[in-house]
Symmetry: C3
Subunit: 425 residues, 3 copies
């Protein structure tokens, strides 16, 4: 039996209306609205255990918090503790995941130490700023999505305008989706057996005379496990065709990144993104120590997949005792970008492992290479990625074997030079 309660926000006696979203609710599921533009619901803070006794039995701890001060004023975080991992999800930044901690030690295991310390509210960010690099004012998440209309480098591109003419406009770095506040965030669970939670969310990238793209995101996590999964769709809500791009920009620093760390993928083909990266193609998979003045190296990977269309990446530490495994479907995420930025710790010692619909070149270039998919009217594409914390040598070994199983003895083409890019000037 599902019970709907009226919560009391202890701080301000604000009444929190918890209602069922009838359209989405499954048979035995409870759906708790944490945020809703549709129903105009927002909570200053919530300690969910106080209101869902069922959670306690499985040692869940869920806390919704609003940040204050500086550039983080008004940002809302959801902290999901399943007893093994603690995920911190940022509502106001397109459901980015700020970091993942080890619940037993509190240590950050997925994430990095960005020079950006506060969780910046998009209301302060001008994506067009700094020649289209304004996105970098807020970049500090472990996982941030790039997209949805465009996902790569800033610079000129062409679109059809309202007047029917082609119009040149400047794309901004990595698109808008990471700086759009979520419209809906619902907690979904079975009150009889709350061993699994889902965070359902909606982030919308809409405008008049422009894209109408909706991201439906479901994060699934079970109590007591060291893994979780994102199942997402991007839907074109307009009446005409619409291009889209999506890159899952995951970023790892300490402790997984260190001198001697490696990233392991079953690569069909690896290409340096530019001449600078080409010089280090032979060591594309190993990481150096923090290096003051390091210039980023980016490698473009086309992964092999197994008979189920899945591929995997493993990032592991030098001693092969800890790591992160990502498994995803290459049907809609056929490309992988490896971003090496082993700069000084203070400037962001970090690597990005980034499955995507394409690579982070400007969309104009991506389109030239046929890597900008199109959604017909009402059409959607689904994306699935699972993330696992590999703890101990056995886990790492097993994950590496999985990569080898996917590779299945097939060769890797390593291109020594960057692709020839079209000249659009």
């Amino acid at each position: 039996m599902v019970q709907v309660k009226r919560l009391r926000d202890a701080l301000c006696l604000i009444v929190a209306y918890l209602t069922f979203s009838v359209g989405h609710a499954l048979a035995d599921e409870e759906r708790l609205i944490l945020l809703s533009a549709k129903e105009s619901i927002r909570h200053e803070s919530l300690t969910l255990n106080d209101h869902i006794p069922a959670l306690i039995s499985e040692s869940w701890e869920l806390q919704l918090q609003t940040l204050h001060g500086g550039m983080q004023e008004g940002v809302q975080l959801l902290r999901v503790d399943n007893g093994e991992l603690i995920l911190t999800i940022v509502f106001d930044r397109g459901m980015s995941i700020l970091k993942v901690q080890d619940a037993r030690t509190g240590e950050d295991v997925f994430g990095w130490d960005s020079p950006v310390k506060e969780v910046v509210n998009p209301k302060y960010i001008d994506l067009e700023g700094r020649g289209g690099l304004g996105w970098l004012y807020g970049f500090n998440e472990w996982l941030v999505r790039c997209g949805l209309e465009f996902a790569g480098h800033p610079g000129r591109d062409v679109m059809r305008s309202n007047t029917g003419d082609d119009k040149e406009l400047d794309l901004t770095l990595h698109g808008r989706i990471g700086n759009i506040p979520a419209s809906e965030v619902h907690l979904v669970f079975d009150a009889e057996d709350p061993s699994e939670l889902k965070i359902d969310a909606v982030v919308e990238e809409r405008m008049f005379y422009g894209p109408q793209l909706r991201l439906d995101s479901t994060l699934t996590i079970k109590a007591g496990e060291r893994l979780f999964r994102l199942d997402e769709t991007v839907k074109n809500l307009s009446a005409g065709d619409q291009e889209y791009q999506i890159i899952y920009h995951t970023n790892f620093g300490r402790p997984l990144l260190e001198q001697g760390s490696k990233v392991v993928v079953a690569a069909k083909q690896i290409t340096p993104m530019n001449d600078h990266a080409a010089q280090s193609i032979s060591t594309y998979d190993t990481y150096s120590k923090p290096t003051q003045g390091f210039t980023e190296q980016v490698y473009l990977v086309e992964p092999w997949s197994d008979e189920n269309g899945l591929t995997a990446s493993v990032l592991h530490n030098r001693k092969l005792t800890r790591g992160a495994q990502m498994i995803w479907s290459t049907g809609t995420l056929p490309h992988l970008t490896i971003w090496k930025n082993t700069a000084a710790e203070l400037d962001g010692y970090v690597t990005g492992i980034e499955p995507g619909s394409g690579y982070p070149f400007n969309r104009r270039i991506e389109r030239h290479f046929g890597r900008v998919p199109v959604l017909g009217a009402g059409e959607s594409k689904a994306f699935s990625i699972s993330f696992e914390l590999l703890d101990g040598a056995d886990s790492v070994r097993s994950a590496l074997q999985n990569v080898e199983r996917i590779r299945d003895g097939r060769a890797t083409i390593k291109n020594r030079s960057a692709p020839n890019l079209p000249d659009f000037e």
Copy 2:
């Protein structure tokens, strides 16, 4: 006898200070401050009937609400129900009117179904974005004002800078006023006879080394009527001359817009805005069904006015059983833009009927044609428009007769080609 009360916001026990704005208050009027920058007053929500018993006798229902979630976080709406119509006014978007509903059925009668679903808070909008088209990220109102420094298309214009030199700058689509939060919103009524309400508001477009333009807006509505009126002034608060532009951008979709709907005006002259619109000049006044891939058609109308300087437009449905009449003074709003955008429903099936100080060309072009008025120091101009829901064939017929009365048999010049525009490059 006027009574001033201290309201209690039921949600948060916030004390709402109701004070008289002595300067404006008329003899028997009460003035309730709904929002005030001057006195730093803002309410999370208010059910005004709880505090003004007089309203109930006339079956008014007034509700102030703050929206939460997504791009609408923090936006404040005032819902004014006079028993016949329900107006939804957006404080944070320059007192735009989101929609007008039939109070008896709840149906939206004035308004449209924009791809932009949330009422977007200007704090998330970058008007300079997307090549100056950032305004389109929030465009979903029935009535939004364009202006006040500039009101038309984006692109280069020249202004005098602080250093005394001419400086080129990029104007942004439709100006700033629709994305500036109101500074003051007051509810004005006679407590002894609350059959009429006024919403007084102030929206200011100010900067240093730039315009100081103040919009004073009064919306007047009577209980039980199907019409209401805007009486507004734009005032130049600076010590020198200042150009201004204003366009009342009203937008209609279903139910008034459908295949066979017509817009009827007493036109002295009609000119297509560009070559594309010129091709369809012969059917400028009739609407087609939603058409995927439709490219906007814009017609520039110079209306005739009657001996009182008034003109009127009627938009009516195919069967002439419902419609919208607008009556306005051509003294300060001598130009009318008809924007036909009968695109697919999902992309915004809509037409704009837009009285203005000029047309929506870039200000540079408008200036060239002498359509950018100048306000001297301290000078102001007044604008008046009334809006009526025409319900039933009699109402529509009567409104059409009014247009014919204004036309008074005078001819219409229909230009077959778009104006020759100056080349500023």
Copy 3:
């Protein structure tokens, strides 16, 4: 004995957590957190006298307030009244000081009457707007800092990008620091002897692939005095070298500015900023009455300093009965800009007295002239300025004598023409 209390916000029963910031607290100091991003603390309002009885004994009045309505929605002000002066400090605008009032009369003594009337929340401001002049949408403070990455005029400059290449980008007028909300604001005092208060604040200008500059600001003020002091540092938190610029842009209107007012400095050299200013170099130090259409005149001053490295400026009224004295260290603030803008009262009758690390040319030009200092990794520079209200002829005379003492008979070179600027096009 230090007592930490739990305050009750009378309006909303919000519990305000007052905690010690152990790291910074000195021996006998209490440290009250007024705002903290680190601890996610923000108060809607606080009447500090209610909570700190010790303050009352010295006739302090401290009030924290949140503004509502219009463009000021959500901005927080701290009003510090020491019995003689009332300072109004703006948390959300980089700890700018809006104005200083005479506590006995309430009159604004430091400050000006800007066309911008509301204290604009940076969330509404697009610094890149209007060709890089967006800063002017919020400019109305008595003291606003320009900087920290760049502090001068908008326009092209070059920076090293993430890809290792040089990239051209557009700087925006006066930089970002004046539109960044403070991360920390602490009130520091000795509970046993609260004759002196300190306002400690942190404002951070951070991004990925960009500057990591922290402003630590301490404002010191004593009960019953007509002066106060800023002691600040700018620290480079990145691992590499970082340029910085800072200009303390103080702005005076009535009552200190009037026809016949003078600004007096011990100048080693004075140079007009452009040809227009050059025409009036002979009267650079005297002010005219408000003049409609006045074009700004800017003078670049290299001040002499005394044996302690200090210099001073005095702005006094026509009768030499009132004035403002600033004393600062020329070690890190070797340049002074005098901005004369004796425009019409309605448009901003104001003069800027602006000690800085350089002049307000575009950074590219400042770099060319060797006026853009560089901070090594972890390095910081300190800045100190004291401000005194001169009340009465004796005070003014004494301050003028101080300038003469600094000048010590040394000559002033008055350049008749503006500097030859490099042509970067």
